[in-house]
Amino acid sequence: MSVESTIEINVLYFANLADESGCDEESLAIANKMSLSQLYDHLQQKHSLSMPQSELRVAINDYFVSWDEPIKAGDNVVFISPVAGG
C-alpha cells in the first residue's frame, strides 16, 4: 500500500474566481508533484469554476510563472483571470 506524499499550499481567489468559489483564500493539501494545470482542474471541479484554464494566467508567491512551474510546499498559488486595470 503506497503512502502518497502531500504538501500544504495556499490558494488565493480574486474577481470572478472569488465569486464562484465563494472564498478569497483556502489552504489545501495536494499531492506532491501535482502540476499547476492539475491543480486548476481539481479546483475547477471542486468550485464549479466556469473559466477554462486557457483564459487564465498563474502566479506563485506573488510573481507570474509559467504553467510548467513546479508547486512547492508552502507556495501561494493564484490563478489570474483576465485583468481590467487602467
Binding site: 468559489s21 510573481y63 483571470s81 486595470g85 487602467g86
Partner: protein, 167 residues
C-alpha cells in the same frame, strides 16, 4: 449577489496593505504602487521631475459615465496588491531600460470609484519628447495588459459585470 457576500470575498482586494505614505514612497522609488484613496497627482509629478527632464508626459485614466452603450453609475477596482507591485516594478524597470527616459512613476487606485475619479496615473520624464510619449504609452498599455486588477461596473438597469481589457 448580495452586498454582504460581495464584501466577504473581495474586501481584501479593495484595500492596500500598507499606509498611503508607504504607497507613495514605493511608487516614487520603484515606479509603481496601488492606492485605495484619491491619487494626489501633483505629489507624483513632483517626484518625477529634475533638471534633466525636458519633457514630461502624463496620462490619467478616469471613470467615464459611459462604457460602450451602458450608463455607468460607479465601479469598483480590485487588486492583487503583492503581484501588482512586483509586476509594476518589472514594467517600470523595463521601460527605463528600453526607452531613453529619466524617470517613470505610475499608480493605480483600487476600491469603489465614482464618475470622474482618477483610476490610474502614469508619468514619464525624459530629455526628449518622443521617448516620453512612447514610454508613457507603453507603460500604460503594459499595465492594462499585465497588472492584476479587476473591474466591476454598476449600471442603473442591468446587473453589474466583470470587465476585461482583452475580452
Amino acid at each position: 449577489m448580495d452586498n454582504h457576500f460581495e464584501k466577504s470575498v473581495h474586501q481584501g482586494a479593495m484595500q492596500i496593505k500598507r499606509s498611503v505614505d508607504d504607497a507613495y514612497h514605493l511608487a516614487i522609488q520603484d515606479g509603481f504602487a496601488l492606492l485605495d484613496v484619491a491619487i494626489d497627482e501633483p505629489r507624483l509629478r513632483k517626484a518625477l521631475i529634475d533638471d534633466r527632464s525636458g519633457a514630461v508626459v502624463s496620462f490619467d485614466g478616469r471613470v467615464r459615465n459611459h462604457n460602450n452603450d451602458s450608463q455607468v453609475q460607479r465601479l469598483t477596482y480590485y487588486g492583487y496588491e503583492a503581484l501588482a507591485i512586483n509586476q509594476g516594478r518589472l514594467i517600470i524597470d523595463k521601460a527605463k531600460a528600453q526607452f531613453g527616459i529619466v524617470n517613470a512613476v505610475a499608480m493605480h487606485r483600487i476600491g469603489a470609484l465614482e464618475i470622474g475619479d482618477m483610476a490610474i496615473w502614469v508619468g514619464v520624464s525624459a530629455a526628449h519628447r518622443d521617448a516620453a510619449f512612447d514610454a508613457c504609452r507603453w507603460i500604460l498599455d503594459t499595465i492594462k495588459a499585465d497588472i492584476p486588477i479587476w473591474k466591476q461596473e454598476y449600471y442603473p438597469d442591468e446587473p453589474s459585470k466583470w470587465l476585461s481589457n482583452n475580452g
